[in-house]
């Protein structure tokens, strides 16, 4: 036991996304929906939803987690990986979690998926770099210089045209061509998550919005038919999902629009990369924490399974910080997830009883399905 028992923070209204923390894909059932955020004292704090399902969260260091539950081997190792992170963001946590899963600590299925995802992300990054080069050619090449649109040209020709485009733009940016090429490579990382050009629909952000849309629509239908308690939960999930989609779509459009003027984007990148990274990372922060609920819902295919999934999802619905309103430029009802939250008491079997190993196995399966 740690020196002091964890204290439930009843009123939890984070102002910023950093304060809300980044979601951590722990496999311990009690830690589902937990988030990590930087802390001056502890390196990082965990924010764990109240297991009773009511309002409030536990804010505690990792050492305090053992007062709430018995973390899995996977989570112990993931905690160490997070402690070593320089920045706590959704993407840095995802990367750390993927490396832990790739070691096999969430089982072989998750290990194979994590290794495959590592490859896919690398390919997406390369593809995004290529698409950024194509966009640069389209924007920089003088009209009439080449009859064939770059996206239809042979790869060797595209390479030549890209090199020429970089040579043309570099002096305007007061950079060497190598620096421009390197910048485009660096930008490929954050932009591959939101998607560029014709790849936009297949990006992680687009996939997440599609999954969230499905969750929004199906839970809205459920809210009509279910009993008042589950109906209330379904309504809350659907409404917060709808608001999240609206906010994420707005920030996604804003971030993708940056590619419409690559010279300006490159110029901003060199002037101050951090604000630009934060702008492009907004959709990720908004969608962060929805992957597990969406997967839980998709995996529950029968009605009894969906009833159970809904009770669990209702505990995990991310709170939307007030900062979201500043990002999207319209009024955001940030109390939605707490106002509609119903207090549910869960049976002893649910998080602490005999089924806990099955829930861990289920969570490990979710790790394998996560993008």
């Amino acid at each position: 036991m740690s020196a002091s028992s964890p204290v439930l923070v009843q009123s939890y209204h984070p102002t910023t996304f950093v304060e809300r923390g980044a979601s951590v894909p722990f496999t311990t059932p009690m830690l589902m929906g937990a988030r990590a955020r930087p802390s001056d004292r502890n390196g990082f704090d965990l924010i764990v939803p109240s297991p009773s399902g009511g309002k409030g969260v536990y804010v505690l260091p990792w050492s305090g987690v053992t007062d709430l539950c018995r973390p899995t081997l996977h989570d112990e190792r993931l905690n160490r990986a997070i402690a070593a992170l320089r920045l706590v963001t959704p993407s840095s946590i995802r990367a750390a979690a993927r490396e832990i899963a790739a070691e096999g600590l969430a089982g072989r299925e998750a290990m194979e998926a994590a290794r495959a995802n590592r490859e896919v992300e690398q390919q997406e990054r390369l593809l995004t770099n290529f698409l950024l080069l194509l966009a640069l050619v389209q924007q920089v090449e003088p009209t009439g210089e080449n009859a064939t649109p770059p996206e239809q040209d042979r790869p060797a020709m595209v390479e030549q045209r890209a090199r020429r485009a970089i040579m043309r733009i570099a002096p305007r940016l007061k950079l060497s061509p190598e620096e421009v090429a390197a910048s485009l490579e660096q930008l490929a990382g954050p932009f591959s998550a939101i998607g560029v050009g014709r790849h936009a629909g297949r990006s992680r952000a687009a996939r997440m919005i599609a999954a969230l849309t499905l969750l929004r629509d199906e839970t809205a239908r459920w809210a009509v038919d279910a009993d008042p308690e589950l109906g209330g939960m379904a309504e809350m999930v659907s409404k917060v999902a709808a608001l999240t989609i609206e906010c994420a779509s707005a920030t996604l459009a804003e971030a993708r629009a940056l590619v419409d003027s690559l010279p300006a984007l490159l110029e901003r990148w060199h002037r101050a990369s951090e604000p630009l990274l934060r702008l492009v990372g907004r959709p990720d922060w908004l969608l962060d924490g929805w992957e597990q609920p969406c997967l839980l819902w998709q995996q529950a295919t029968t009605e009894p399974a969906r009833r159970q999934a809904l009770a669990e999802i209702a505990l995990m619905v991310p709170v939307i910080p007030r900062e979201a309103g500043d990002w999207v430029g319209f009024a955001v009802d940030t109390d939605l997830s707490t106002r509609f939250r119903r207090s549910i008491q869960l049976g002893e079997d649910w998080r602490t009883g005999a089924a806990v190993l099955d829930l861990i196995a289920r969570n490990e399966h979710l790790r394998a399905l996560a993008a």
Binding site: T72, L73, R108, D227, P304, I344, G353, A354
Partner: protein, 416 residues
């Protein structure tokens, strides 16, 4: 698919095969039978499996009789097991009583049949929505119903049995719309909103005691079977001294508890120790029974009953320990020692171990915690030191985690 079996000998032979089949095979057979437009002799084929089906609860096609009797399922037994005065319902009464209700409901009954067409017993929202008005109407119809001309021919029961059964079913159905949401809440893994749940079950008991006093023991037996409320019922019976139905309640609970224990000691015990049953499924039922025995034992004022409870608990405990030891040896110890000369699949091993752990978590509620613990520790030592080439260090650590917990697993990993 080959033609369905028709002859008695053929059915008997298939029945023998099914009785020894695993749960997954049984589920597949039931799925296939459910799809047949005319089940005919196939119902006889699955008759011996009914106790297992009650445990497995595979989704079944919703039909009018099934929806009508859905809330009463735990009390339904084969006609041969039923006897007059028992707090049970013979399966043979389902179709004739359902036919009476359907005929009396006319167009409303037909509308219900249309509403459930193509749906299954998994769809609990639909069952509650369509079922609630049906159960209420059926209760009113059956309360004063007279037996149909072919009652004895259809059921093998005397005409006088009709009144008792129809009234009993009416009493239960009159409360079904109130009981079903509570049962659903428990099935979902949500606890009842007010624990103890006495506040929720007291009006159900009160209404039955007023309208169908003779059926109160039957209702209490149903509540015991459907809700984890044994302790609440016993407390209510003690506190209801001043209520008009206090004495009836005490007698009713005594009979319901007696019947429940009798069931557990008889056919229920066979189901709980079924060697063909899936270990994880069995664990759920054993957990429920252990909880029930615990509550009944805590509050029972009768020494003979306490002795009976203790005897059932000890018998079940012995059976669980033996099953655990055998399974641990079969799925963990022998494969880790390479005794089977079969390639070892870590994922299969983990899944089997998880089912075993679920089983021991439930079985410990009956006793023997230190015995399970010692065997698990020994197996963890074996797993940690295993030199099976199929297992990496991480695989071994995960096995140790399942057997002895994350702390031991972390130590192994850190040392490796």
């Amino acid at each position: 698919m080959s033609a369905p079996p028709q002859g008695a000998a053929e059915i008997k032979s298939l029945q023998r095969g099914l009785v020894t089949a695993g749960d997954a095979q049984v589920r597949r057979v039931v799925d296939m039978i459910e799809l047949l437009p005319d089940r005919g002799a196939m119902d006889a084929l699955i008759a011996p499996l009914r106790p297992r089906l009650a445990r497995l609860r595979p989704p079944r096609k919703l039909r009018f009789p099934r929806l009508l009797f859905y809330p009463l399922d735990p009390l339904i037994v084969p006609a041969a097991q039923w006897r007059r005065g028992a707090l049970l319902l013979p399966r043979t009464c389902i179709l004739p009583l359902a036919a009476q209700v359907l005929a009396a409901m006319g167009a409303d009954g037909a509308a219900i049949e249309a509403a459930i067409e193509g749906h299954t017993t998994d769809e609990t929202c639909l069952i509650q929505r369509v079922g609630a008005p049906l159960w209420t109407s059926a209760a009113a119809i059956l309360a004063d119903a007279r037996p149909a001309a072919d009652w004895t021919e259809q059921t093998g029961l005397a005409p006088a049995d009709h009144r008792d059964l129809a009234r009993g079913v009416a009493a239960l159905l009159a409360q079904a719309a109130a009981i079903e949401p509570l049962a659903q809440t428990c099935r979902d893994g949500r606890a009842l909103q007010s624990a103890p749940s006495a506040r929720q079950i007291e009006p159900i008991i009160g209404a039955t005691a007023t309208k169908f006093p003779e059926a109160l023991p039957l209702l209490l037996a149903l509540l015991l079977a459907r809700l984890p409320c044994a302790g609440d019922l016993l407390r209510l019976s003690r506190q209801a001294g001043s209520a008009s139905y206090g004495q009836a309640l005490r007698v009713g609970i005594d009979r319901a508890v007696g019947m429940t224990l009798e069931q557990l000691d008889g056919s229920g015990f066979a189901t709980l120790t079924d060697p063909g049953a899936d270990l994880a499924d069995l664990a759920g039922r054993i957990g429920e029974v252990a909880g029930l025995l615990g509550e009944l034992g805590e509050d029972s004022p009768r020494p003979d009953r306490l002795a009976k409870i203790d005897a059932i608990r000890r018998r079940l405990d012995t059976s669980c320990r033996s099953r655990f030891t055998l399974t641990l040896d079969e799925v963990v110890t022998r494969p880790l020692r390479g005794a089977d000369e079969k390639p070892l699949d870590p994922q299969v091993l983990e899944a089997e171990l998880r089912a075993l752990r679920r089983f021991d978590a439930a079985a410990r509620r009956l006793g023997g915690s230190e015995v399970y613990e010692a065997q698990l520790r020994a197996a963890a030592t074996l797993a940690g030191a295993s030199d099976r080439p199929e297992l990496t260090l991480v695989d071994r650590a995960r096995l140790v985690e399942l057997l002895a917990g994350p702390e031991a697993a972390l130590s192994l990993l850190d040392a490796g």
